[in-house]
């Protein structure tokens, strides 16, 4: 590599090092200490892998892993299926109606997270309040205090709608970039609407779908803000607590006042490792290298 290349890559590399690499190293370092509110900044000491050991033996660890898997899988399914569904409908119906639907679905993403989450808390309020009760009781769903009786429904819907809007955006532009003639040819060739989706559209947007799957998996595993703002892991002890929220609670906000930075850092580090493993597995599963064809222009 010559110096010009370094010059051009410099700024980006610096940013990556400063805001990604350094925090990862600090987190890993912190995870090997017993740093906490109790120890302060002066009394902490290196404790090796004790934090990891503690997590592995923790009595809630299994519950939280199960919660996390459930949360990620169900929300992911909701995200991708709904996002894809809306994208397909809005690109295959008239363009104007499509635009309206897309705008509607983008609302959760453009409203501030806190406002959006609080709107859900209000919508899910206990009877006699709550839009959800108003809307669902005529179709036979008994009014209830959703956050207490069905916390997972709310958690998944809150995250699901935001994620679906991202998927929808990506899928819509991917579908729109498929040449119109391909759809016309398929219609002349006798394909039904479903066959066109199944045999033409989906195979041609495989790569964006994969991207959204991996990206959403990662961000769902790492994100906790909507759960924090709605159920905060409750009701009761750890009912909807997921791994990242657990790390947050341990390191930065808990009932007992003793914030265990070291333990929380170990939890976060574990999450990074799992995230990497999951995304590489997915890339393998979808045979990423087959999707990326050789460049048409050969560079020597």
């Amino acid at each position: 590599m010559n110096s010009t290349a370094l010059l051009f890559m410099g700024p980006a590399a610096l940013l990556v090092i400063l805001f990604f690499f350094v925090p990862v190293v600090i987190t890993l370092g912190l995870s090997l200490t017993d740093a906490a509110t109790a120890t302060g900044l002066s009394n902490w000491k290196w404790i090796g892998l004790d934090n990891y050991d503690q997590i592995a033996r923790g009595s809630f660890t299994m519950l939280i892993i199960r919660n996390t898997i459930f949360y990620v899988l169900v929300t992911l399914a909701f995200n991708v299926v709904v996002g894809l569904g809306i994208a397909l409908l809005s690109t295959h119906v008239e363009a104007k109606a499509g635009g309206f639907f897309r705008a509607l679905w983008l609302l959760p993403r453009i409203s501030p997270s806190a406002v959006y989450a609080i709107m859900w808390v209000w919508a899910a309020a206990a009877p006699p309040f709550g839009i959800m009760n108003d809307v669902l009781s005529p179709v036979g769903v008994a009014p209830r205090d959703w956050l207490n009786t069905d916390p997972w429904v709310i958690v998944i819907l809150v995250n699901g709608f935001v994620g679906a809007s991202l998927g929808m955006l990506v899928f819509t532009s991917a579908i729109n970039s498929i040449p119109e003639d391909l759809f016309r040819a398929a219609r002349v060739d006798g394909a039904s609407a479903w066959q066109i989706v199944r045999r033409i559209t989906l195979p041609l947007i495989r790569w964006p779908v994969l991207f959204v799957l991996v990206y959403q998996t990662m961000s769902l595993m790492a994100s906790y803000e909507y759960i924090l703002l709605t159920t905060n892991g409750g009701p009761g002890l750890y009912t909807t607590e997921v791994w990242s929220l657990w790390a947050f609670h341990t390191a930065l906000s808990n009932y007992y006042g003793n914030l265990e930075f070291g333990l929380g850092a170990a939890m976060a580090a574990g999450l990074v490792v799992i995230g990497l493993v999951v995304s590489f597995t997915m890339l393998r599963l979808f045979r990423f290298d087959e999707l990326v064809s050789d460049p048409r222009v050969e560079i020597t």
């Binding site: 040449p179 003639d181 391909l182 016309r184 040819a185 398929a186 219609r187 002349v188 060739d189 006798g190 394909a191 039904s192 066959q195 045999r199 033409i200 195979p203 041609l204 064809s293």
Partner: protein, 359 residues
């Protein structure tokens, strides 16, 4: 199968893309839809295919109206300008797609017919490749095979040759024409290249500005264009035009313009006495370069463009320039004085007002 278009119209909002088109295509005929860019050719084809719904008018296949039928129920095969091959499928899967979409076509029958169609257009060696691994000409053949594999009654081709280089275009021109006659299919192809239309089609429908200007055999279009637009569009290099006064001398009609005087033969003179003005058209190949004073006009050589088989010579006559064709051996310095002689029975007279043919 016979195809009839009656008063076929398509509007997109305020734009009229096709305006009251009447066209009858006989069974087994090969018809070219020719016209400048944006005149409505693709729109017409897409209405016949059933992709666009007509704003008005009728489309008849055989004896049945088909406007309400879906594309798949019209018995058509279509080749798109972009070829529209499915990029994620192999050549074999592409060609077999129309059969796979049909209920009740067995797997081995699909294989057999894919082979057959591929052999017809000489791509049977490429069945395992993806479209991205094919040349433009090969893609074009695969698209043809896909259009023919379900044995349609009507074949539609949208600018089938425009993405090919000049040599391949020439080759495929002949190939498609042969294929169409061999299969005996009714076919309509769109092109903006007059040479393509004239060489391939049995009849050419010439469109401009959403309207049909002429519908005739290539020979008729060339020899007896019905109006000035047709005369101008057909032929390369294009026909020369000049405004002339019509007068009479010794019982025959005389067309005169600055530096030009031509006595019209009776067959080429407008009937009656009423016409005082005309736009005279003469093709470059019907103008010969002669010694000064020996022709119908005199001028100076403006430029000579050698074309190999012939040379295109522009001759300046007063303020006007006429284009003539000279044999390869012709040579003269720029600015040399020459005469031009018109083959008078190849003159065309048009009404300066409406552009209609006078004689």
């Amino acid at each position: 199968m016979r195809v009839v278009l009656q008063q076929l119209t398509k509007r997109f909002g305020a734009v009229t893309a096709v305006d009251a088109l009447d066209l009858e295509i006989k069974s087994g005929e090969f018809v070219g839809l020719l016209g400048p860019s944006g005149c409505g050719k693709t729109t017409t084809l897409l209405m016949i295919a059933g992709i666009y719904r007509p704003t008005g008018g009728a489309i008849v296949f055989g004896d049945h109206r088909v406007e309400h039928l879906m594309p798949k129920d019209r018995g058509i095969g279509m080749v798109f300008q972009s070829y529209a091959l499915y990029p994620h499928m192999t050549v074999a899967q592409n060609i077999g797609f129309p059969l796979a979409m049909r209920r009740g076509v067995a797997g081995d029958e699909i294989t057999r017919r894919v082979r057959e169609a591929a052999a017809l257009v000489h791509v049977d060696g490429l069945l395992a490749r993806k479209p991205a691994q094919l040349s433009g000409g090969q893609q074009q053949r695969v698209a043809l095979a896909r259009a023919l594999v379900k044995r349609p009654d009507i074949l539609l081709l949208d600018e089938p040759l425009s993405n090919l280089d000049a040599r391949l275009r020439h080759e495929m021109r002949g190939e498609i024409k042969r294929l169409q006659k061999e299969v005996g299919i009714t076919a309509i192809f769109v092109t903006h290249d007059q040479l393509e239309a004239l060489t391939m089609a049995d009849r050419v429908a010439l469109m401009s500005d959403a309207r049909l200007q002429a519908y005739a055999t290539p020979k008729e279009l060339y020899e007896r264009p019905v109006n000035q637009f047709v005369a101008e569009f057909i032929g390369s290099p294009p026909m020369n035009f000049f405004a002339a006064e019509l007068g009479r001398r010794n019982g025959s009609v005389l067309a005169t313009a600055q530096g030009i005087e031509i006595e019209l033969p009776p067959a080429r003179a407008p009937r009656g006495d009423g016409q005082r003005q005309a736009t005279v058209g003469i093709r470059p190949e019907h103008l010969a370069i002669v010694a000064p004073g020996a022709g119908h006009a005199n001028g100076e050589i403006y430029v000579i463009e050698p074309m190999g088989r012939e040379q295109i010579v522009d001759v300046q006559i007063g303020e006007r320039r006429l284009r003539a064709i000279a044999p390869p051996g012709f040579s003269a310095p720029l600015g040399a004085s020459v005469g031009l002689r018109a083959a008078v029975d190849q003159l065309h007279l048009f009404d300066p007002a409406g552009g209609e043919r006078l004689a």
